[in-house]
């Protein structure tokens, strides 16, 4: 499903959203049914591994997956949709004649699994005729039988539907009572139960939970209409994220409230209603050069687009040339050891281990233990994101552990881990950062975002814009977009807040690959300042 289809489903006209629906819809009661037994999954996976090996595969892995989603959509005073989906099946990936092959089936009878494994080998053999570079896998030790679960307090799928409907109704009413004319609120709950087995002796069972509660509010006024999205982050947490713990709120003088590891959706909807009324009256920005202070709910997406994507090794090497594109961060720049990606206070790291993040797992989808590593160290490009069949191309012998498939039916490939900006060692607040700015703009929330296929030129918007004059936030303004070049932008980074301001936003449905697959990824960062950035006015009159 692409973004347009999601828009059709929900009537939401905003946001870079995608939702994979590969499976069947199930009843609410069925969603909380017990996970399949470890031994049963191991037996099914072994059928696949044995059939593949017998057919001539030199390597095979099998992923037995059960993917549960529930999403609830509410518009204004009514619930539009309550959908429960379940998708179960097995995906089998093999190497034969030095070439990858893949096949998947939802029919999990032993004979069907064996046939599917043989089909994967047949696909590999057909392609090997034209293969010129045999696959080379970095070594990974077999880990035997292991299990892992996302640390959650409350499984969202076990919360009664009525409670969730009541929450969304309260959210919608809060926005409508405070200035919004329309609102769509959505609750996405995802549970991936996935079992990985390989011919290298790993049997890894992981139970992964994710949650996202966005809303999209609109106010109609005499001069037209304005929109404001919620500031809740998608997280690797249970329903406890929606507790609205005040200790997890971060306030900025004269502007917004931000959210760390707990979200008060009703408060955010109330604020959204009021801010929409202010947006309708706000003056349009004067284009020019400004110092920008970017809040974490906004900056996460800038990091995603201008750091996360260009440092994916498959893009750098050309494997994504036909779709997502390639990268300006070429191997010669990395090999030089002195490519100044950002200013010397910029430290960007990758991981799949930060608790509560979307990327957090113990093992990736090819059985590699996850870890944290540096991408940009004191401004210098030092590494990429790579998986087992790629690391030999950057003279490394250990996978970074960031291989992922969106479901059993899709082949796993290199996906972005969490990519985050390290906070200042001095624990400055967002207010401290703003206090030093003479003439600037404070941007909150993710808006329109667009970047070229090599990740040089970008243009980003936001949800809320505030003028900063002499260290203080003055008015809410509108129609702000900034255009820059990735390297120039990160080299204009002059200040950032500290650990207590650090928040992880994320993308729940990041798209890549052909056929396109989505994945969920977080980006942590503090409020950060960039000097002298080109700001354009995005308003325009049309007939």
């Amino acid at each position: 499903m692409d973004r347009r289809d999601f828009v059709k489903l929900t009537g939401i006209g905003v946001g870079g959203l995608m939702l994979p629906i590969t499976g069947r819809i199930v009843s609410a009661s069925e969603l909380v049914g017990a996970n399949m037994d470890f031994a049963a999954k191991k037996a099914l996976a072994n059928i696949a591994l044995e059939a593949a090996t017998s057919a001539g595969a030199t390597y095979a892995d099998a992923r037995v997956g059960r993917y549960l989603n529930q999403f609830i959509t509410a518009q204004e005073k009514r619930v539009d949709n309550i959908v429960n989906t379940e998708s179960a099946g097995i995906g089998i990936r093999v190497i034969a004649n030095g070439t990858w092959g893949f096949a998947a089936t939802s029919d999990m009878r032993p004979e069907s699994i064996a046939n599917t494994a043989r089909q994967a080998v047949a696909v590999a053999r057909a392609n090997s005729k034209f293969q010129t570079d045999p696959v080379q896998l970095a070594p990974v030790p077999g880990v035997g039988d292991v299990e892992w679960q996302t640390p959650i307090r409350v499984n969202a799928l076990e919360v009664p539907i009525k409670d969730k409907v009541d929450l969304l109704m309260e959210v919608n009413n809060a926005a409508l009572d405070n200035g919004a004319s329309f609102i769509t609120s959505v609750l996405f709950q995802v549970n991936e139960q996935k079992f990985f087995a390989s011919t290298e002796g790993s049997y890894i069972d992981q139970d992964i939970h994710r949650l996202w509660a966005p809303f999209f509010a609109t106010a109609v006024g005499a001069a037209g209409f304005k929109q404001r999205q919620g500031l809740g982050n998608p997280v690797g947490m249970g329903y406890e994220y929606l507790d609205g713990d005040p200790a997890e709120q971060i306030s900025v003088q004269g502007a917004n409230v931000g959210y760390r590891w707990s979200y008060d959706m009703v408060k955010d909807a109330t604020d959204a209603g009021k801010q929409l009324q202010a947006k309708l009256k706000a003056r349009s920005v004067e284009p020019g050069t400004y110092d920008l202070v970017l809040d974490p709910h906004h900056l996460m997406l800038t990091i995603h687009e201008s750091v996360g994507h260009p440092l994916e090794l498959d893009r750098v090497l050309g494997y994504e040339a036909n779709f997502a594109g390639t990268s300006f961060a070429t191997l010669d720049k990395w090999r030089s050891g002195n490519f100044q990606y950002g200013s010397d206070i910029v430290n960007l790291f990758a991981d799949k281990t930060q608790k509560h993040t979307l990327g957090c797992v113990d093992y990736d989808d090819e059985g590699v233990r996850t870890k944290e590593w540096d991408l940009v160290d004191e401004g210098i490009l030092v590494n990429y994101q790579a998986i087992r069949d790629q690391v030999h191309m950057i003279d490394q012998d250990e996978s970074h552990g960031c291989c992922y498939a969106q479901s059993w039916a899709d082949v796993q490939f290199q996906r972005m881990p969490n990519v985050s900006l390290r906070p200042n060692t001095e624990d400055l607040s967002a207010d401290d950062i703003i206090a030093d700015v003479e003439d600037g703009i404070y941007i909150v929330g993710r808006g329109s975002f667009s970047i070229d296929q090599q990740r040089y030129n970008f243009q980003f918007g936001g949800q809320l814009f505030y003028e900063i004059k002499d260290g203080k936030i003055t008015d809410q303004i509108e129609d702000v977009g900034y255009q820059s070049n990735t390297q120039e932008f990160w080299n204009s980074c002059v200040a950032m807040a500290g650990e207590s301001d650090y928040r992880a936003g994320g993308s729940f449905f990041d798209g890549k690959g052909q056929p396109s697959q989505v994945s969920a990824v977080s980006h942590g960062c503090p409020t950060t300042r960039f000097n002298a950035v080109n700001v354009i006015n995005t308003a325009r009159k049309v007939g």
């Binding site: 499903m1 893949f102 998947a104 329309f182 040339a321 036909n322």
Partner: protein
């Protein structure tokens, strides 16, 4: 079995309905088999095959509605899925916008199935990829491409006696071909129902020519230029705009087609709330949908089983029809305007657009252009303002300066900030429409297209 015939689908769905005890019951059965091959760096990278069939049952008691789905088809499973949907319906809150089911209808014949595509094998896919890789290698270029073929069917039946069935095959091909030093890049896309129409070597030759021709791109100042947009460059902008043409959004004041009263106030009671009947675009603009179009056929029914025929959305620049839901049509007293069921799964694919054009080929349009910019495709298109339909994005994989009827030299890629509404008011000329992503779109010559900055990307 992933592909049911009409008779098999009818028999299965009749059995499903026989288990229903709800006031209303509607079932969808969708199945597909898809195969793909992906290549990069002049060699095959990944390939696969996936099968799936899904039965979805929707039951309603009054205005309470529930849905459940299953992919096992023995009698016990069929009864179970009906019971589950009924259980969900009893738990759901009343939806004030629930509409009763539609009854039986007649549908026009549509042929979207080709055995040539339905019988594709991994060996065929590998050869088609090789036909694209080999000429790239011969030219010291690097190819990355993707070929995806599918066969699928969709059937709908409900307790009011409605039954609709459609089956289709599809093949999609794209390839990006770059110079080894990364200074040139070309791209091409093709999609058909019948794979025998697809020649990956001929298509790749276009990408090869653009890759070679785009080396040593010159910088041009950003600003307003006359452009020739190839169909691949305009189809997403047009699709996004068409997707924002909902009657309800317009009536509610949150669309570029909303009608305002004096001084921007909401229209007075009884006054029009949307711009149907107004000339919003240039008079060259006529856009329709038609399931029976022989080049881009679609199902002749909507997701609720309503028959879909030819619908004119924009006629000579005048907004004629806005798509709506049955609820909104009923509430506002206008005819229901459904769009064709767009594929399997819960949400389906895109909307088919047929835009009228002229007779000239792209080459003839270039020949008749004194000064302009040829745009192969636009990339990373994102909305900046929903009320003006202002979008941003970048040119990619072949941007050229035209002078005195000839392509003079390649130019660096631009970021654009432009609205399709402005674009469709600034048409100089339309060429002959071609199939692109399931739609028919002409090449367009547009004046004063706004490029806002330069990009270093190739």
């Amino acid at each position: 079995m992933s592909i049911y015939t009409e008779q098999e689908a009818r028999a299965l769905l009749e059995k499903v309905l026989s288990f229903s005890t709800a006031d209303e019951c509607e079932c969808n059965l969708d199945g597909s088999t898809a195969g793909n091959i992906r290549y990069a760096r002049n060699t095959v990278s990944t390939a696969g095959e996936v099968d799936n069939v899904t039965l979805s049952v929707q039951s309603a008691f009054g205005k309470r509605m529930g849905t459940a789905t299953i992919n096992e088809f023995d009698d016990a499973s069929l009864e179970k899925v009906v019971r589950r949907s009924e259980e969900n319906a009893r738990l759901a809150p009343e939806n004030p916008e629930h509409m009763p089911l539609l009854g039986p209808a007649e549908y026009v014949e549509v042929n979207s199935w080709h055995d040539s595509t339905a019988s594709m094998t991994p060996e065929q896919r590998a050869q088609m990829a090789q036909n694209s890789i080999a000429p790239s290698k011969e030219n010291q270029l690097v190819a990355a491409g993707f070929l995806n073929d599918s066969k699928g069917f969709s059937a709908i039946m409900n307790s009011e006696g409605m039954f609709a069935y459609h089956r289709a095959t599809n093949v999609d091909f794209t390839v990006t071909i770059r110079t080894e030093d990364g200074r040139g890049s070309g791209w091409v896309t093709r999609d058909y129902n019948d794979v025998s129409q697809l020649d990956t070597a001929t298509a790749s030759a276009i990408a090869i020519s653009k890759a070679k021709g785009s080396v040593d791109a010159k910088e041009m100042e950003p600003g307003k230029y006359t452009v020739i947009l190839e169909p691949a460059a305009s189809v997403t902008l047009l699709g996004n705009m068409a997707g924002a043409m909902s009657q309800r959004a317009a009536d509610e004041g949150r669309s570029f087609l909303s009608k305002k009263g004096p001084d921007g106030a909401a229209p007075a009671e009884g006054e029009p709330t949307n711009r149907v009947g107004e000339k919003v675009f240039g008079e060259q603009v006529t856009i329709s949908s038609d399931p029976t179009n022989p080049i881009v056929p679609t199902p002749a029914f909507a997701g609720d089983g309503a028959p879909v025929g030819r619908t004119v959305w924009i006629d000579k620049g005048v907004v004629k029809t806005l798509p709506n839901s049955r609820y909104w049509a009923d509430k506002t007293g206008v005819p229901y305007q459904p769009t064709a069921y767009s594929g399997g799964g819960l949400f389906g694919g895109g909307v088919q657009l047929i835009m009228e054009g002229g007779d000239k080929s792209l080459e003839e349009m270039i020949r008749d252009t004194r000064r302009g910019v040829l745009v192969t495709r636009l990339w990373y298109i994102r909305q900046l303002d929903p009320q003006t339909q202002l979008y941003t994005g970048l040119t990619r994989d072949g941007t050229f300066y035209i002078e005195d009827g000839e392509i003079k030299y390649p130019i660096k890629n631009f970021r654009f900030n432009e609205s399709p509404i402005v674009m469709l008011n600034n048409i100089e000329e339309l060429g002959k429409p071609v199939r692109i992503n399931g739609s028919m779109i002409p090449p367009m010559k547009i004046r004063d297209f706004t490029f806002s900055s330069l990009s270093d990307a190739v």
